[in-house]
């Protein structure tokens, strides 16, 4: 880069200028992308002192949730109705898929920009409640009517003397069976009240063998710990004990993964790489949702989304092994919770929205069972006639289960949110034969104990 050499085009200054500006552009590009990735909005919003609250003054609140496209559409519809009813309240929607939701929520909370109404889940509720992020909802009991809420379900949102979440509805983890795939394979739907884990493996293998090329019997179940919680409960064990410690033996967990490997080796589930890909796609891209597989484990409130995606008749089945061991393992779970930010600038408006979502039949008529079977028993009774066949199936399935279910799960310990990531990773290690089921079980126990501080 000399001043003295003659160059083919322009003077040295010109080229050096070009070179330098190119460098600046590149550097700026790098800096910009770096900023976009890591610079959080650190400006805390100055909390404005509210002297007197005019209930009709226009306010804007933010409501966050996760979910499928179906849920986003329905929720937007519910919010539009709500805003029509309460013209002074504007609700800003803030939604993502499940995986991105918690990253985003943590960031907005750190930036003092938490949504006013936050959708929560049992694995994270304690994390947020014990750290002072959420408001005790009993303070707003004059706005939110808790009269008709199912008591036993309400208790799941209660901890340390406060009600930090209101359950949206009831759910169960079950098998979704694609009847069209069963038919194409010429395999009968199993009797889910008596089938064993061996039967499950046999049925899945048979479908893979008989169904057209590219179809599989079932989708791998190992990415989610609720499935293992049920497996352990059937054997008289538990994922978490009441005190938050681990309540299962490594042998049980290893056995759970051995069955998963057996399915893979017999071709009942796809090869590992395809399984990873399918799992990343969520309910709509699942094997059952795309009519490429006979069975998959999902929550009952995901039945609507999977049925929509597949366009076929999807049936709910009990887990295998419910009558095989000493007890049943399935349980009811609050699908999700509505929580309120402790720092909401408009708590009254936020409470009004929560009350509408939970207690107004108008909202339930749109949502139906997408957030679980409504927890408000009166609302449930009011909308059950309007349920589509799909929602009715979920409701009937849950009421059939009622007598079989022994008990609920204890509230998961702080750090349980991390377990979702741990099991996902270790399951992939098992599927790709990087870890034996025994080693995987040992590693899972070790990592979960570290994450939950046990």
């Amino acid at each position: 880069m000399s001043h003295h050499t003659r160059t083919r085009t322009g003077g040295a200054r010109g080229t050096r200028g070009l070179l330098r500006s190119a460098a600046v552009v590149v550097a700026a590009g790098l800096a910009l992308t770096a900023c976009a990735q890591e610079a959080p909005d650190n400006s805390p919003e100055a909390p404005e002192a509210e002297e007197s609250v005019d209930p009709d003054a226009p306010v804007t609140i933010k409501f966050s949730w996760w979910g499928s496209d179906t849920r986003h559409e329905l929720t937007q519809q519910v919010l539009d109705n709500f805003m029509e009813k309460h013209p002074n309240i504007t609700v800003v929607s803030d939604f993502t898929d499940w995986n991105g939701y918690w990253d985003k929520l943590a960031t907005t909370v750190a930036a003092s920009d938490a949504p006013d109404v936050i959708t929560q889940e049992e694995r994270y509720l304690r994390d947020y409640a014990t750290r002072g992020v959420l408001a005790d909802i009993t303070e707003y009991s004059d706005i939110i009517d808790l009269e008709n809420m199912d008591e036993s379900i309400l208790a799941s949102g209660e901890m340390e003397g406060g009600q930090y979440g209101l359950p949206t509805g009831v759910n169960a983890y079950a098998i979704l069976a694609n009847t069209s795939v069963f038919e194409q394979a010429g395999v009968e739907l199993p009797d889910d009240e008596t089938w064993t884990w061996d039967d499950y493996v046999d049925v899945a293998t048979e479908i893979s063998e008989k169904a057209p090329e590219g179809m599989y019997g079932t989708q791998d179940y190992g990415f989610n710990e609720p499935g293992f919680a049920i497996f352990a409960r059937q054997r008289g064990e538990a994922l978490y004990n009441e005190d938050g410690s681990l309540g299962f033996s490594e042998e049980t967990l290893a056995e759970w993964w051995e069955i998963s490997l057996q399915l893979r080796d017999q071709g009942a589930t796809p090869p590992a790489a395809e399984t990873v890909e399918v799992d990343a796609g969520g309910p709509e891209q699942s094997l059952v949702g795309t009519n490429r597989g006979g069975m998959a484990f999902f929550w009952t409130n995901q039945l609507g989304a999977v049925t929509n995606a597949s366009g076929q008749d999807i049936q709910l089945l009990r887990h295998p092994g419910e009558s095989e061991h000493e007890r049943t393992g399935m349980y009811f779970k609050p699908a999700m919770f509505y929580s309120m930010s402790a720092n909401s600038e408009h708590p009254e408006a936020a409470a009004t929205l929560i009350d509408y979502l939970l207690n107004d039949p108008e909202a339930a008529e749109v949502m139906l069972s997408d957030r679980g079977l409504p927890a408000n028993t009166e609302v449930r009774a009011a909308v059950i006639d309007q349920f589509s066949d799909v929602d009715k199936q979920a409701a009937d399935f849950l009421s059939d289960l009622e007598d079989e279910i022994v008990d609920g799960l204890p509230v998961p310990p702080v750090g349980a949110g991390e377990v979702a990531e741990i099991i996902r990773r270790i399951n992939a290690e098992v599927l790709f034969d990087r870890l034996s089921p025994e080693d995987a079980a040992a590693q899972f126990v070790q990592e979960v104990e570290a994450a939950t501080g046990q």
């Binding site: 160059t7 070179l19 190119a22 900023c35 918690w102 943590a106 909370v109």
Partner: protein, 313 residues
């Protein structure tokens, strides 16, 4: 951090000047004036958060609660964090394989485009396009589709009777697809190479031709040596950039760094610790380790440059 390389270049070019004339002093005033917006950005957007993160790296900070001081515990934990060590390995593999390939591709195309083609501006833009798009979310999503089980690659392979597989979802190949993505974004270094090629005086080639040197000989004895400052500059910038890669791995793996942590870039692991595991103190400590690693690497780069970079001053 990307400013490091830039600063070094500016310092280098400044070192050439021996004395300052009054005119140059006037230039400096103008320079300060024009740099002012950049300095504001540096202090508010870069330096401020960096100092904050240095403080946070000595704390236990869950994002949801105020940070509490714990000394060097975060740094001590890094020594035993197997996943962190794995992420360093993944990142290093990615950087040291894809950056040389990317620079080679950039140089090859720059040489090709430097032959005075008709419509050069168009070609230059076309080849630069991937650089603009490569870091974007849209391209990463496209990548996931192309290398998916039923993606374009497998369809082409299927045409030749080869049974493909899910490239991005297999731990043996996922990182490779990201490397290809990085190589593909050769546009920025290519433009800089082009500028460098234009700077090489024509007379050297004429003299070489008279002496009977062939094309290869001309390339090895004239082009390459005179281009070393540019190669060095590109190398520094791309190494720093590649170490900070995040978007591609985040989108292609759905934020998991999977399968089996095979695409767990350092920055992605940092993000997971900070935002998924709510361990922002540890994540801040990781950020500072990255600063140290990149600074050390860049320093080594500058030291080594003495032995192979040729400044034709």
């Amino acid at each position: 951090m990307s400013a490091l390389g830039e600063l070094a270049t500016i310092r280098k070019s400044k070192g050439v000047k021996a004395t300052k004339s009054p005119a140059e002093r006037g230039d400096n005033k103008a320079a300060i004036f024009f740099l002012a917006p950049w300095f504001v950005g540096l202090f508010l957007i870069t330096a401020g958060p960096m100092i904050a993160s240095l403080y946070l790296s000595f704390t236990d900070y869950s994002l949801l609660q105020p940070p509490s001081w714990i000394g060097i515990e975060n740094y001590a934990r890094m020594l035993e964090d197997v996943r962190l060590h794995n992420s360093l390995k993944v990142t290093a593999t990615y950087v040291f394989v894809s950056v040389p390939l990317q620079l080679a591709a950039a140089l090859a195309l720059a040489l090709f485009l430097d032959r005075g083609l008709r419509g050069l501006a168009l070609y230059r833009s076309v080849y630069y396009l991937p650089s603009l798009l490569g870091g974007s979310v849209a391209i990463a999503i496209l990548w996931r589709q192309i290398f998916g089980t039923s993606g374009l690659i497998n369809q082409v392979l299927g045409f030749f009777g080869i049974q493909g597989q899910g490239w991005v979802s297999h731990p043996d190949y996922a990182l490779g697809t990201l490397m290809i993505l990085n190589v593909w974004t050769f546009g920025a270094p290519m433009i800089i190479f082009l500028a460098g090629l234009r700077q090489i005086p024509e007379m050297y080639y004429e003299a070489a031709q008279i002496d009977g040197a062939g094309r290869l000989r001309q390339f090895a004895s004239i082009t390459l040596p005179l281009l070393t400052p540019i190669i060095f500059f590109n190398l520094v910038l791309q190494l720093i950039g590649a170490f900070q890669s995040f978007t591609q791995a985040f989108v292609v793996s759905g934020g998991t760094g999977g399968p089996v942590d095979s695409t767990m870039f350092y920055t992605l692991y940092l993000y997971q610790r900070g935002f998924t595991n709510l361990d922002m103190g540890y994540a801040s400590a990781m950020a500072w380790l990255l600063v140290v690693i990149i600074a050390a690497l860049t320093a080594v780069n500058f030291l080594l440059s003495k032995y192979w970079v040729f400044y034709n001053d």
